[in-house]
Structure formats: C-alpha cells, structure tokens
C-alpha cells in the first residue's frame, strides 16, 4: 500500500514514504541525506550495492538501513543512481535475487527576487513595484523523468499571497516578500515516484520592501 503525504508547507520538508517490494524510483535532493529501510529487519544479512559497488556491511545500520547522500556538481542536471538490495536469510544460505531501485537526484535550486526599488522614500503615500522571481539554474533534463516545476507561490510576511502564481508580483505595500516553487514528481511512466525526500530542494530568498528613505526637508523661503 502506498501512502502519499503532500503539503505545501514552507518548512521545506517534502517527504513521501512508501514501501516498495519491487524495483522502485525514489527522488532525493543533492547534498541531502536519505535512508532506505527494508520492511523486514531480522534477516541474516543485507547486501546493498550503489551503482554496482557493494556497500560494506559496517556502513549499514541495524535492520539493513542504508543512509546515503548524493551530491551533484554545481550547475549539474538531475542524475540517476542505482541502489540494489539482496538479502541472506541464514549463514551459508542463499543470496536472494537483487532488486534494483532507481534514485533520481534533483539539484538544489534557489528562487531569487529582483526589483527596481527596494527602499522607498518615507514620505510617499503609496508604492508600486514589480517583484520578479527567477530560479538560479535551469534544469534542462527534468522532462526526461517527467518532473515539472510548480507555479510560483508568493508570500508576504509568511502569508501566502492569494492568486499570485507567476514570476512577477506587483506590490503596493512594504513587507518581506518571498517566492518559491516545488518539484512536481510524476505518478506514471518509467520514473513514476514511489517515494521522495525533497527537503531543501528549492528555497526562496526573501526581499524586504521598505519605505525608509528620509525625504529631504523643504527649506523655508524669504523674499529678498
């Protein structure tokens, strides 16, 4: 049974758990650790292989739990790793067939905001500005996996700005603004997701729009 929990929460914790007996696809984030746990913890031995290289038993936690971190080079696109699992049920027993899981490593992205004026004069009655959000990197091969990016989600002071979904937000008020996006994983196809840990996958940089510039004082005048 697969359980899927998804929440648009700006705590940056996107986590999906599922137990897959057959070969599965898991999505993780570059530079972030993740663990795979067999649902049977009392077997005699667990043999994990990462891209065909055996993982020493000393590196496994009890119950055959494997913890890994894959880090992509800066600016790199998404990559696929293979994690294979075989088990022994007794000393001198048989090694099971290997089940090969795919780990799709997604690069970490950052959403930055740009504006013409960030600090307005303190004596203006109102402000009008466009905030433009952009990703620091274009991941060119997401479509290979069927992964897409969500619409932008804008927040002001931590509160979602309703109706704002594009990369431009027209603002009229001071405040702390931020924009984020999320990876949207496929549910069908070759790379359908069986689980993911996307913590810190796409983070947004805040921008503080203020009205703190001091207006000059109009001097007194006199007739000469």
């Amino acid at each position: 049974m697969k359980t899927r929990i998804f929440t648009i929460c700006f705590a940056f914790m996107f986590f999906v758990t599922a137990f897959s007996a057959n070969a599965a696809n898991y999505y993780v984030v570059s530079g972030e650790p993740f663990s795979l746990k067999p649902d049977v913890s009392n077997l005699f031995a667990y043999q994990w292989m990462v891209d065909g290289v055996a993982v020493p038993a000393a590196e496994l936690a009890a119950g055959g739990v494997l913890t890994k971190t894959f880090t992509l080079a800066e600016g790199a696109t998404a990559e696929t790793k293979t994690l294979s699992l075989g088990v022994l049920d007794a000393v001198g027993g048989c090694l099971s067939d290997l089940v090969i899981h795919k780990i799709i490593v997604l690069p970490k992205l950052t959403v930055t905001l740009a504006t013409v004026t960030q600090d307005f004069c303190s004596n203006v009655a109102s402000i009008s500005e466009d905030l433009t959000a952009s990703l620091d990197q274009t991941v060119t091969n997401l479509s290979n996996y069927g992964v897409t990016l969500s619409d932008y989600v804008w927040t002001k002071g931590g509160v979602v700005v309703s109706g704002a979904s594009t990369n431009v937000l027209a603002i009229t008020e001071v405040g702390v603004y931020k924009a984020v996006r999320t990876y949207v994983l496929p549910t069908t196809g070759t790379f359908a997701s069986n689980g993911s840990k996307l913590i810190n996958s796409i983070t947004g940089v805040e921008i503080n729009i203020t009205k703190n510039k001091t207006a000059p004082t109009t001097p007194d005048i006199s007739i000469q």
Partner: protein, 469 residues
C-alpha cells in the same frame, strides 16, 4: 567409503584395451644348464624308493617349455629323499647388498609339500659335494595368473648351483615335485617384489602366494587356485578359494598379493569377492582382515572386511561384492605398499566350518577415490555450480588420470569426463547426490566413487524498502 557393486553387469567395467600382463621371464634371464640327480633313504631301516626322471627336461628349452623333471620320493617306513641338482654355467655373484633371487618353476602343488617336504640348498660349485652357501630355510611359492608356480629363493652369497630335495611325507606316502626350469634375472633391481618382470601395470598383482597354519591331522586349510584371483577375467568367473575342511579348530589361511613395485601415495586396492558355503556372511567378514606391507614390513592399519563392504550383499549366494581397501596409518595418512595379505581367521569361525570360505575373484591396485572440497549448498537462482575433484596423484607424471562424474553410486552414465563438472543447478529445491571416480588412461579399472551432496535451496525474498523518515 564403502563401495558395493553387484557384479551382474561387471563387464561394463572392462574394456578390451586393458593392457594384458605378459607372464614371462626377463629377456636376459639366465637359466641352469646342467642337471644332476641323487637320493636314497633318510635313515637306517627306511623302506621306500626315490627317483628323478627326465632330469635334463629341467634345462630351459624356450618360451613354450612345458617339459619337466619329476622328483619323486616314497616310503612305507621312515623317509626317502630324491634330489635334482641344477647348475648355472658360471658362478653367480651375490652379496648381502645385491642379493640374487633364483626362480624355480614348478607346476605341482600338493598339501604334502607344505611343512618341509621340499628343501633347497645352494652351492658355490657345480658338484654340490662341498661349499654350501647360506640358504634361507623357507622359500615362498608364488602363483601366477596362468597357473604357473614359482618357488623363489634369495641368496646373498656367490653361488653356482642349487639342489632341490624332495623328502617323502613323514606320515608315509609319496611326494612329487616337477621342475620345469630355474633362472635368475641379472638386471633385477627390485628386491622387494618377488617377481618383478611384469611388463604392463594396470594394478594387477604380479604374483600371489598362500600360507596357512598347521591345523592338525584332520584339518586342512588351503587356498585353491590362487592364481585365479590375479588373472585378467572380465567376467570374474575365476577365483581363488579359501577353504577349510574337516575339524577346523584354531588357525588361519592367507593369500598374499604382490604388486609391480611400490605404490603411489594415495593408492588403494580394489577386491571382488564372494562367499562359499553356508557360513553367515557376517561371521566370515568379521574374521577376514586385510593388511598392507612394504616389502617385509607391515605398514598401515589392518582392517576387517566387514568394515569395508556390505555384509548383506555378501550373504547373497553367488553375489560378487566389490570393495576398496585404502592402506593408511593411525594418523589417517596414506602409506606406501607393494603387497597386501588377506587373512581368514579360521579359529574364530568355530568348529565344523567345512567347505566354507571366501572367494577372491579379482585384486587391483589403483588410485584411491578422488578428493572433493565437500558438499555444496547452492540456490535455485544460481545458473550453475562447478563440482571439482582432485587427487594426490594429479602431479605424478605419466599416470594419465581421468575423472568421471555420475548421479548414481553404481554404474550409470557419465555426466562429465573431467575433474570439474559444470552442474546446471536444478530449478527446484532439494538434495541431490553426485559421484566422481577416477582411473588411469588405458586401464579399465576405476577407483571407488566419492559422493558430493548438492543441497539446493530457494533464495529468500527481498523485502520492500521505504524512505526512512
């Protein structure tokens, strides 16, 4: 490991390419060339007669020589003796370091000859009137597969003639001895093997001899047709027979088999036997022992044949039972040997075991069963596994060893003719037995089979995995 074989299809083990032994003197054998005779009463008052007829027939006339001198001594009171004095043309140099064995071919075997009816004395001249040479008091009688019998006497001092004396039985009567010819081999170097002139060697003994204790007036222990145990008979129809007749009492009867030189390390002996009479097989098998020797020195541990074969099979009338004897010491290490003794302890069988005994149909020296790494555990998800065998004799040059794998302990069709068998793993779990034997190229006799058990198991199922929070 016991290897039991029902002999109804024995011929499958035999191949026409088996090297046949050539029972012949060496090509450079030197024969006696002059004969003298004599004899008379052994003491005052003896009544009897003695004669030596066709004395010159004891001169060798060629490979088809079947003419013989007949030495005869008879008596009705006391004893009479008759002798044949055979001389070599030249003195024969012999020393304790390089002794010389003289073989006297005789085809006569009578129980009366045992226990001192024959005497042999060597001389350092041709007359025999002086210069006697130290001569062993006892001399074994060796039997060849074709029924030929040789008496052999080993001398350690220079000699030129030998005198063969036949004395009439102490219990009155007549003793006869045929002498066909006498010779020695000037190039013989094997002082351990009594007849080292065999040409080929597929493990067949060169010669065999017999021995028995004295069982008393009404008791006779004997081995009938001893040479039949070492002939090349693919059906094993011929046999030597251990017999006991009369009131047996205590005693033993034994047959000794002499192989062509020393064994290789990890050699074994294969015997094909059957039982005669109504004696229980267990009683028989528990009183027959086998012992290996290196020359005159006992080597390894003796074993009762009841520990080497299936006694129940031996109990079935007419059944030939094959088993293997591997001479080893107490440390379970292979020993080097050139002969074995098969001894029947008659005394332990009890009184009244007339006409009961052991038949020996065939004796072969051959490599011991192959060695394998042990039983194998394998999984159904493995395509194949290699079963391997080796022998301590693999490194010996010139042996030409061959291996064969089977899935049955007896007979069957070879699955592989190699030391390594690439077994396709069965797709269903279970326990499967495989057997490997070995032999020498060109010889149809093979070793005991070594069993390898392959246990096939179903592999476990890989559990599901999930991202651990």
């Amino acid at each position: 490991m016991k290897f039991i074989f029902l002999a109804n299809a024995i011929i499958l083990f035999w191949f026409t390419t088996i090297a046949q032994k050539i029972w012949a003197q060496p090509s450079n054998a030197i024969f006696t060339t002059a004969q003298g005779i004599g004899g008379g009463p052994s003491g005052i008052g003896a009544i009897g007669s003695q004669s030596v007829t066709d004395a010159n027939s004891a001169n060798y006339s060629g490979s088809s020589d079947n003419a013989f001198a007949l030495i005869k001594a008879s008596s009705t009171l006391g004893t009479y003796f008759a002798w044949l004095h055979s001389s070599f043309t030249n003195p024969v140099l012999a020393t304790p370091e390089s002794p010389v064995t003289v073989y006297i071919r005789t085809n006569e075997f009578s129980p009366a000859l045992l226990g001192g009816g024959i005497g042999i004395q060597a001389y350092n001249n041709t007359s025999g009137t002086s210069n006697p040479v130290t001569t062993p008091a006892s001399f074994p009688m060796y039997y060849l597969a074709d029924g030929t019998i040789y008496v052999a006497i080993t001398l350690s001092s220079t000699f030129q003639s030998i005198r063969i004396t036949v004395t009439s039985p102490v219990a009155l009567g007549t003793n006869l001895l045929r002498v066909y010819y006498s010779f020695y081999g000037p190039s013989a170097t094997n002082t351990s093997n009594p007849y080292p002139y065999a040409v080929a060697d597929c493990g067949l003994p060169n010669v065999t001899s017999k021995d028995a204790s004295v069982g008393g007036l009404l008791t006779d222990f004997n081995i009938v047709n001893p040479g039949n145990a070492i002939d090349v008979d693919p059906t094993f129809a011929t046999k030597s027979t251990f017999t006991t007749s009369g009131v047996s009492g205590m005693g033993y009867v034994k047959q000794v088999f002499y192989f062509n030189g020393m064994s290789n390390k990890s050699d074994a002996v294969r015997l094909v036997v059957s039982k005669s009479g109504t004696l229980l097989a267990l009683n028989l098998a528990s009183n027959v022992s086998i012992q290996a020797y290196n020359g005159g020195t006992l080597v390894g541990e003796a074993q009762l044949i009841q520990s080497l074969l299936d006694v129940q099979l031996l109990n079935i009338a007419g059944t030939l039972v094959t088993f293997y004897f591997v001479p080893k010491n107490l440390a379970n290490e292979s020993v080097i040997f050139d002969r074995i003794e098969v001894t029947l302890n008659v005394g332990a069988l009890g009184v009244g075991v007339a006409s009961n005994g052991l038949n020996i149909h065939d004796v072969r020296r051959l490599p011991d069963a192959p060695v394998t790494p042990g039983d194998v555990n394998v999984c159904t998800n493995v395509a194949s596994v290699v079963l391997s065998a080796l022998s301590a004799q693999d490194g010996l040059s010139g042996l030409g060893l061959n291996y064969s794998w089977f899935n049955v302990q007896v007979l069957g069709i070879a699955l592989s003719a190699s030391a390594n068998y690439n077994l396709s793993v069965p797709s269903t779990p279970g326990t499967f037995n495989y057997y490997v034997e070995m032999g020498k190229n060109g010889c149809g006799v093979v070793s005991d089979r070594k069993k390898v058990t392959v246990k096939v198991s179903t592999p476990p199922t890989v559990p599901a995995v999930g991202l651990n929070p």
